[in-house]
């Protein structure tokens, strides 16, 4: 299994600013992911964080808006850039270990943009 620590747990930000969310896993995992969960909704995959290379983004998400880093196997960051109120959401870090298909989740970062 894997335990994922995510910070900040919540933040209130001003329009036009950027926020970086950090995700730390307590063991080596193969894949790391970033999801967005809007209020009352299911999870939407933003991107797969690739170690040492550019993240793989899903349709509708772009690197300029959501730059992602993964410098090693256990750490990743997601930046939400030039924020607007529409970016108010919960951002969840997730990871999986080889062959199981099981996803482990952080507790999420609840972002409110004013």
């Amino acid at each position: 299994s894997a335990v994922i620590s995510q910070k900040p747990s919540r933040d209130i930000c001003q329009r036009g600013t950027s926020l970086t969310i950090q995700c730390q896993v307590d063991s080596q995992v193969t894949m790391m992911f970033w999801y967005r969960q809007q209020p009352g909704q299911s999870l939407t995959l933003i991107a797969t964080a690739n170690q040492g290379s550019e993240a793989t983004y899903e349709s509708g998400f772009v690197i300029d808006k959501f730059p992602i880093s993964r410098p090693n196997l256990t750490f990743s960051t997601l930046t939400v850039s030039n924020m607007s109120p529409e970016d108010s959401s919960i951002y969840l870090c997730s990871a999986t270990t080889p062959g199981t298909g099981e996803l482990f989740f952080g507790e999420g970062s609840r972002l409110t943009v004013l």
């Binding site: 909704q41 969840l92 298909g101 099981e102 609840r110």
Partner: protein, 114 residues
């Protein structure tokens, strides 16, 4: 094409009565199926998983699910609901053939009345 349908957006039960949360899936490949639970202001936690072994899967907190290939269903059940079961439940399909792809259902909110 792959998809997951949770047939009820909300389910309300009385404490001590059975719980049934319904999930149907569509997949061209042999999927792995999961149920996750999300309590308020928390990340997702794995309840149980089906990965082509026994069709009746037992999970944590007294939950179980039965994989029925003929009906393409993976319904979640619990004989007796507890107040602490009130949460959001997600049915998830993961495909590990030729990559890694996860599809989330829309979620079912479970309410438990005293």
């Amino acid at each position: 094409a792959q998809s997951v349908t949770q047939l009820d957006s909300h389910v309300s039960v009385s404490e001590g009565t059975p719980v049934l949360l319904r999930c149907n899936y569509s997949s061209s490949y042999s999927p792995s199926l999961f149920w996750y639970v999300q309590h308020p202001n928390k990340g997702l936690q794995l309840l149980l998983k089906y990965t082509s072994a026994a069709t009746l899967v037992k999970g944590i907190n007294g939950f179980e699910a039965e994989f029925k290939k003929s009906e393409t269903s993976f319904h979640l059940t619990k004989p007796s609901a507890h107040m602490s079961d009130a949460a959001e439940y997600f049915c998830v399909v993961t495909l590990m053939t030729g990559g890694f792809k996860t599809i989330f259902g829309a979620g079912t909110r479970l309410f438990v009345k005293a």
